[in-house]
Structure formats: structure tokens, C-alpha cells
């Protein structure tokens, strides 16, 4: 049963990745594209965090509860893998930084064109082939 739930969770996450990729590629609204991108990034992060999880009971966070050597062996037996968490924190911050920049670009596009629909922006892009101003 636990293996089934575990497998379902992982498959659901993979399905989410597929759906968010669809959203990034096919949604005409720039804000929705950005939302799909954040979903994509967060799902990837969640998948990596799950890599470090242990399907045991009880399971502890990777913070030493007491500063004594006696508690250490008990702690190592129950604690989850800290490295994926550390990697994911880095990835979360990076993802957030990229999202900030993309959001700023979307705001700027909205100011310039008055719309966030990619089709309308495409129509109004200065036609470079006609000799756009530098």
C-alpha cells in the first residue's frame, strides 16, 4: 500500500510537470506562462526533495535535537537525507530570482503594449524586417 501511494505521488508529480510544460508552451497569456513555469519549477523541486525522504516511522528533520553524542546514532537512524534539501533550497532561490526577472519583463511588456496576450504582442512587435529602429 505504501509503495502504491509512493508511486502515485511520483507519477502525479510527473503528470504535473507534463501539464505545466503544456501550459508554458500553449497558453497565450504571458502571466499564465509564468505561473506554469513556477509550477514546473516547484514540482521539480518537490521531486528532488522526495528523493531524500525515507519511508520509515518515525522520521525526523535533519536538525540535531540534542548536542550529545548519545543522541547521534538514534538521529542518524531516523533523519532524512539533508543533501537534497540543501540542493533544493539553492534551486528554490534561483527559481525565484528567475521568476522575479520574468515578472518584471512581463510588467514592462504590459506597459509597452497594454496587453499580456502573446498573439497581440506578436502582431504589434515592430517589424524588424521592415528596418526597425535601433
Amino acid at each position: 500500500m505504501i509503495a502504491f501511494i509512493w508511486a502515485s505521488v511520483i507519477l502525479a508529480l510527473i503528470a504535473t510537470i507534463m501539464i505545466s510544460l503544456y501550459g508554458i508552451a500553449r497558453r497565450p497569456n504571458l502571466v499564465k506562462k509564468l505561473i506554469a513555469l513556477t509550477i514546473f519549477g516547484d514540482t521539480a523541486n518537490l521531486l528532488v526533495v522526495l528523493l531524500g525522504y525515507r519511508v520509515i516511522y518515525p522520521v525526523a528533520p535533519p536538525v540535531l535535537p540534542y548536542l550529545s553524542r548519545e543522541a547521534l546514532s538514534q538521529f542518524v537512524e531516523t533523519a532524512v537525507d539533508p543533501l537534497p534539501q540543501a540542493l533544493v533550497i539553492t534551486a528554490v532561490v534561483i527559481g525565484m530570482a528567475v521568476n522575479v526577472l520574468i515578472a518584471v519583463l512581463v510588467i514592462q511588456l504590459y506597459r509597452l503594449y497594454g496587453t499580456v496576450d502573446v498573439r497581440k504582442i506578436g502582431e504589434r512587435l515592430p517589424a524588424l524586417l521592415e528596418g526597425g529602429e535601433q
Binding site: 513555469l37 521539480a44 521531486l47 540542493l87 534561483i94 528567475v98 520574468i102 514592462q108 509597452l112 524586417l129
Partner: protein
């Protein structure tokens, strides 16, 4: 030894301090320019020192950050391949920083420009020096985010902002793919260090991490596929190329030069690390099958890119867009060579990276001189300017002739190497190079004809901006000199680098030596 670790730290610390510095000097452009030159110059010195060190030692140089050796900490492991590309990168970044000042004389925000520029340089150097797959991810992001912002530098022009947006969106998808691949690597191998991964792929254990914990073949297949996809996006190979022809022209010309000459190399370099260092040499049959399939895909996509880029060059009227398509073509060549997996292929790829970086940067910079003068990217608007700006025209001629592969210039020799390397595999692949070069030649000649012999539209009075043209001249001379001394360079620089990269046991051994005392 510190120079290995310090190299990417120097530009990023300069970038950290620049906002504060520009507030102190009240945004004085000259002082900011001097500051940027000091920053890139110091980096160049550091990289040159690194280059000398690496070429005078038999083994890759290792820097252990925070005294932690792999696999518990991050290490920088620099072999000759990295050092050579790093030298080209730092040199070009320094020259382009000189060029930028004049090019951006009408634009505000020089301090922001240089902050991003220094950040970009730190990212590029970090990608080249790192010996850790996750650190590679972080450095790719440093490079990318600076690149996204620089593409959108002309913030009041819709096409720039939109190109920046598109680039950022696609780039973010790519890097997240790579992050997922790293998750797979950690899940199966229990490590993200290149040397450690390589040791496990080749069936030996490593201190601390022991042997692989998961199914190596499946994990390798999925992770390599995801990672390769990410690198294909970063290098703009055909199904993922669509951002490049918009993003590279939209940036200011010096940034176009950096993007086309250096930033796209990130994808190629990372793929070389994976295919040659981690999955190089003799593998178990299953893994060899996985890598073989992947190489074939890479070669085919590369060939398609080369032909596609060459064809698209002929229908462009925007000068920078034309050059951008040429970048796609050359990236196609590089991926074809990387996919071969042979010593000759690696040599060809490495020499072509170097030559293409210099020649493509020169081409963008020379075109930038004209664009700066008339304020338009349209080929027809540049008509007849050639005679008024002799140095820039000379540089443009050298760059175009070099890029299509006319003999005394540098790219000819790397194309020759590519041709030979591909001939080992099949004749058809080798012909791709010849055919695409001929098609590209037509496109370049058309542009060049217009610029040199076309009738000027209006009688504009122009003077050649000396600081910009002189940089072009320096690079043009570099193109010629590399061309003339090509056999020597191949013999002294390229072949040793390729040999060292192929020797993955040496790469692992250096780290193993350090890590053997770990429990």
C-alpha cells in the same frame, strides 16, 4: 593554487561592489568604465596565470573550497580544455568591455550594464572551472540570468523586452530540466561530483559515497536525456533554437558578441564534460548503448542545425539576425563533432569553439560599428558605409571570410579538422560542413556587397569611432595570427587539451588521491 578558486570570485566581487561604487562616484561614466576595465582586466590576469599553471602541469588542477574535498564539498577541477576556453572568454570579455563604452554612449544605466556584465563573466568562468555537476547548474544560472537581463537592456523597445522574456522562459525550462537530471544522478549514484560520477560509471567505488545506490543504466538514460535537452536549449540546436535569432540581435551589439561567441559555448562545454569526462572511454554494454543512442541524436540534430542555420541566413535583412543564424549553424557543427566521441572530434570541437568565439565576436563587433553609426540593423540602411569606415570594413571582411572558411584565416583550420573528424564517421556528415559553408558564403557575400559597394541612402557624415574600430582590428589580427599559426596551436594547445580530457582516469585519480583519507 588560489588562482583557481579566485578566478570566478574576482568578477563577482567587482559586480557586488559596483552599485555601491556608482553611488559613491555619482554615476560618473568614465570612472565606472575604468572600474569595469580593472575588474575584467584583473580577471584576465588571473585566468592567464591559471592557463600557464594548467599547461605546465600534467594533471588537472584542483581547488577544494572550504578545504572540503569531493564528494563532500565543491571542488574546482581545471584541465587544459577548461583553461583554454577560459582564456578566450576572459580575453574577449576584456576587449568587449573597452568596446562597450563608446557603443553605449547614448544610453543610461552604464553601472547596471557593467554589473550584469561582470556577473556574466563570473558565471561563464565558473561553468568552465567547476568540477561539480550541481555547481555547474548554479553557474549556468548565473550566466543565464545576467544574459536575460542584458538582452532586455533596451527596455523601451518592445522587441528587446519580448526577446528577453522568451529567452528567460525557455532558459528557465532548460535549467530546470538539468536540475531534474541532477536529482536523477543523486538518486542513483549518491553524488553530484563529476569525478565521483565518472568513477561510478566506470565501475569503481569512491570514498564516502561507496558504490551506486540505484539502477545506473535507467538513471543514466533519463538523466542524460534531460541534461542533453537542457544543453541543446542553451546552445540553440534546432528544435530548441527559436529564442536565439530574437534574443541575440535584440541585445546591444557588444552583448550580442558575448552571447553568440561565449554564452552558447556553455551548452557545448557542459555536454563535453558529460560525454567525455563522465561517460567517456570504455563502458559496460548497456551504458555504451545509452551513450551511443544519445550521441547519434546529437549528431543528427547538429547536422540539421547546420543546414537550417545556413539556409535561414539567406533570407534575413536584419544584419544581426543573419549573424545569429550563423551562430546556430556553427553550434550545429560543434554538436556534430562532440557527438563523435573520438579524439579528433574533440580536438575539432575545441579548436572550433575557440575560433568561432573570436571570429563571431569580431563579426558582431564590426557590424556593431556600422549599426552604432546609422542606428539601424537593416542591411540596406548600412549600404555604402564600408568606404567611410575602412578599419571596421576590413574587420568585417576578415570575420566573414574566416567564418565561411577561407584558407588563411582561423576557422578554415578548425573546419578542416571538423571535416576530417566527420569523415571518419561518414562522408555525408562531412559534406554537411561543405554545403552549409557554401550556403553561408552566399549570405555573407550579399551583406558584404551591400555594405561595401551599395549606394548610400543619404549623405550621412560619419567618422569612425576609434576605440571601437581598434578593438575590431585587434580581433581581426588575432583571427589572422591564429590562422597563420594554426598547425602550431593545434600541436601545442589543442591536442594536449583533448588528450587530457579523454584521459578520464587521470581526472578521477587526482580527486581520488585527495579523497582517499576520508572515512
Amino acid at each position: 593554487m588560489d588562482v583557481v578558486g579566485l578566478t570566478p570570485v574576482i568578477p563577482i566581487v567587482f559586480a557586488f561592489a559596483l552599485p555601491l561604487f556608482s553611488i559613491i562616484v555619482r554615476g560618473d561614466r568614465k570612472i565606472i568604465q575604468a572600474y569595469a576595465l580593472v575588474g575584467t582586466g584583473l580577471t584576465l590576469i588571473s585566468v592567464f596565470k591559471l592557463f600557464q599553471l594548467v599547461y605546465s602541469s600534467d594533471k588537472p588542477l584542483v581547488y577544494t573550497f572550504g578545504k572540503w574535498v569531493a564528494p563532500i564539498g565543491i571542488i574546482y577541477e581545471v584541465d587544459r580544455l577548461s583553461a583554454l576556453i577560459a582564456l578566450v572568454t576572459a580575453g574577449l570579455m576584456f576587449l568587449i568591455a573597452i568596446y562597450s563604452y563608446r557603443y553605449l554612449e547614448h544610453d543610461e544605466g552604464l553601472e547596471w550594464y557593467y554589473t550584469l556584465y561582470l556577473g556574466l563573466e563570473a558565471g561563464l568562468l565558473g561553468v568552465l572551472l567547476t568540477g561539480d555537476a550541481f555547481n555547474l547548474f548554479v553557474m549556468i544560472e548565473v550566466t543565464s540570468i545576467a544574459a536575460y537581463a542584458l538582452v532586455a537592456f533596451y527596455r523601451d523597445r518592445g522587441d528587446s523586452v519580448f526577446a528577453g522574456f522568451k529567452y528567460a522562459l525557455i532558459g528557465a525550462v532548460g535549467t530546470t530540466m538539468y536540475f531534474l537530471a541532477l536529482g536523477m544522478f543523486y538518486g542513483a549514484f549518491g553524488t553530484v561530483n563529476f569525478a565521483d560520477l565518472s568513477a561510478k560509471v566506470h565501475g569503481s567505488d569512491f570514498p564516502v559515497t561507496g558504490s551506486p545506490v540505484g539502477n545506473v543504466v535507467i538513471a543514466s538514460g533519463v538523466a542524460l536525456a534531460l541534461a542533453t535537452w537542457a544543453f541543446l536549449i542553451k546552445a540553440a540546436i534546432v528544435p530548441n533554437h527559436f529564442w536565439l535569432p530574437e534574443a541575440h540581435p535584440a541585445a546591444p551589439s557588444p552583448i550580442s558578441a558575448v552571447l553568440s561567441g561565449l554564452v552558447v559555448n556553455v551548452g557545448v562545454y557542459a555536454l563535453i564534460r558529460f560525454l567525455y569526462t563522465v561517460y567517456g572511454g570504455s563502458l559496460t554494454p548497456e551504458l555504451a548503448h545509452v551513450v551511443g543512442v544519445l550521441s547519434t541524436i546529437v549528431i543528427i540534430l547538429g547536422a540539421i542545425s547546420a543546414l537550417f542555420g545556413a539556409l535561414m541566413m539567406n533570407v534575413q535583412r536584419d544584419v544581426k539576425r543573419l549573424i545569429a543564424y550563423s551562430t546556430i549553424m556553427h553550434m550545429g557543427y560543434l554538436f556534430m563533432a562532440v557527438g563523435l566521441g573520438t579524439q579528433l572530434g574533440l580536438e575539432a570541437a575545441l579548436f572550433h569553439i575557440v575560433n568561432h568565439a573570436i571570429a563571431k565576436a569580431l563579426l558582431f563587433l564590426a557590424a556593431g560599428v556600422f549599426i552604432h553609426a546609422v542606428g539601424s540593423r537593416n542591411v540596406e540602411d548600412l549600404a555604402g558605409l564600408g568606404k567611410k569606415m575602412p578599419i571596421a570594413t576590413f574587420s568585417l571582411a576578415v570575420a566573414t571570410l574566416s567564418l565561411v572558411g577561407i584558407p588563411p584565416f582561423n576557422v578554415f583550420f578548425s573546419k578542416l579538422l571538423l571535416f576530417n573528424a566527420l569523415m571518419e564517421k561518414s562522408f555525408a556528415l562531412a559534406m554537411v560542413i561543405v554545403i552549409s559553408s557554401v550556403i553561408a558564403l552566399v549570405a555573407y557575400m550579399r551583406t558584404f556587397y551591400v555594405v561595401w559597394l551599395g549606394k548610400p541612402r543619404e549623405n550621412v557624415k560619419l567618422r569612425e569611432p576609434m576605440s571601437m574600430s581598434l578593438i575590431c582590428l585587434v580581433l581581426a589580427l588575432a583571427v589572422i595570427i591564429i590562422g597563420l599559426t594554426a598547425p602550431l596551436i593545434i600541436d601545442k594547445l589543442i591536442t594536449p587539451a583533448a588528450t587530457q580530457t579523454l584521459d578520464y582516469q587521470n581526472y578521477i585519480g587526482v580527486i581520488l588521491e585527495l579523497a582517499k583519507n576520508l572515512r
